[in-house]
Subunit: 240 residues, 2 copies
Amino acid sequence: MSTKASKLNFEKPLTTVDIVVFSLLENKLNVLLIKRNEDESEPYPNQWALVGGFVDVMKDENLEATARRKLLEKTGVKTAYLEQLASWGNSNRDPRGWSTTHVYFSTLAINDIQTPSSGANASDAQWFDVIDNGVATTLAFDHANILATAIHRLRSKVEYTSLPAFLMPEFFTLKELQNAYEAVLARPLEKSSFRTRMLSTDLLEATPNYKEAANRPAQLYRLKSKIDPVFFQRTFNPIK
Amino acid sequence: MSTKASKLNFEKPLTTVDIVVFSLLENKLNVLLIKRNEDESEPYPNQWALVGGFVDVMKDENLEATARRKLLEKTGVKTAYLEQLASWGNSNRDPRGWSTTHVYFSTLAINDIQTPSSGANASDAQWFDVIDNGVATTLAFDHANILATAIHRLRSKVEYTSLPAFLMPEFFTLKELQNAYEAVLARPLEKSSFRTRMLSTDLLEATPNYKEAANRPAQLYRLKSKIDPVFFQRTFNPIK
DNA sequence: AAAATAGTGTCTCTTAGACACTATTCC
DNA sequence: GGAATAGTGTCTAAGAGACACTATTTT
């Protein structure tokens, strides 16, 4: 007995981690993509792909460590909001064999972003405008599908959480936060109820400083927690 | 070059799928657990564990196929609501090595459940009452942690979706549905607003039949879609 | 003072909750 | 009629949206 139990010498799927990195550039939702290298012996040479790579069982304590390691390699950012999106796994998503990917999504504040450095398997990194449910370029593997799922998750969570606050720099005005919400949701929100909602939870902290402009200066706020988004009890009303 | 690219002969993590199967028994939330066999050469002999097992790259088209295969082996059920919960992966959750699990959760209608059949690696299957955030027994691996996450996800989704409808048999009354909500949420809901909410969406379909009793009979309803839960725009109000 | 944006107030609408009331069945 | 549960109506409270109004700054 127990012949079967102790062996584990059956074929194992490939295990990768991908991260959908969102940020706001010029008030437009952007996603970070990496250009795969031109080596023809690897799948999808020269194509754009999500940030990611294989789990390294020697280096990585757990899946999130893989994600943070890849994020650091590609963006230079150490702390970032990171949330699991979902996982994908099937026999045909990678020509090299049965493959799984554990996908995270991350939101970066504009000022957190370093000039993306080229990694071992990446000859380029670039921000792409999110248009509808994707980007204006073809993606490697099933990454277009994964990206669409991530955009969908982001938009629906934005309806009832403070997630867009993680796209903001350390200090920001309520109007700037509203702009971030509107950029992600791709629809306008009403100022008065937006302000009431944001200030009625334990989300923000007023600072003594104001953003100066050629008009009435706006109060600057700061996030109370950079770890957990706040959940609201209702969604914003949909467009009629 | 490309020496590194084509090899892929590094060590790969183990890839498993687990399913947290929920049902209602006597109006109490229950979860299906499998007793691991007594073979001492496998980890956690004789302990209770979630339904699950290794991905079989020969048999399984994708991760969901693994989940449905395991579900069928353990419960005999073919169609069931199945939703991805999250994935876990680290170096120490399985003594056999770096291991990942893709976790689904499933809701079964009471009448869907067959007598659980013993599988290859399971000498027993049994329903356990959910108490607080777990069950009254020790679980193998990190399954207690996974179960707690699943219960938490179920409870929070029940606040704003029609998920409990998937715990119902084909025909049911509004009162029975309310009982299901209350069983999962572990708090009472108000009849009038509950009924208004359920009937104001495209969730249910009245049937011409009534549930007879020693009092006024109640209208029987049926689900319109057995695939997608309905999302409400607000949560139920929390207890003050 | 004019321009411009910050921030507030008021009114309406929707929906949840509380709770009383009516309806329909069996006995 | 009484018991029991199904199902409805009415009132209040909370919060969203619409939108007008006031406030504060620079030029």
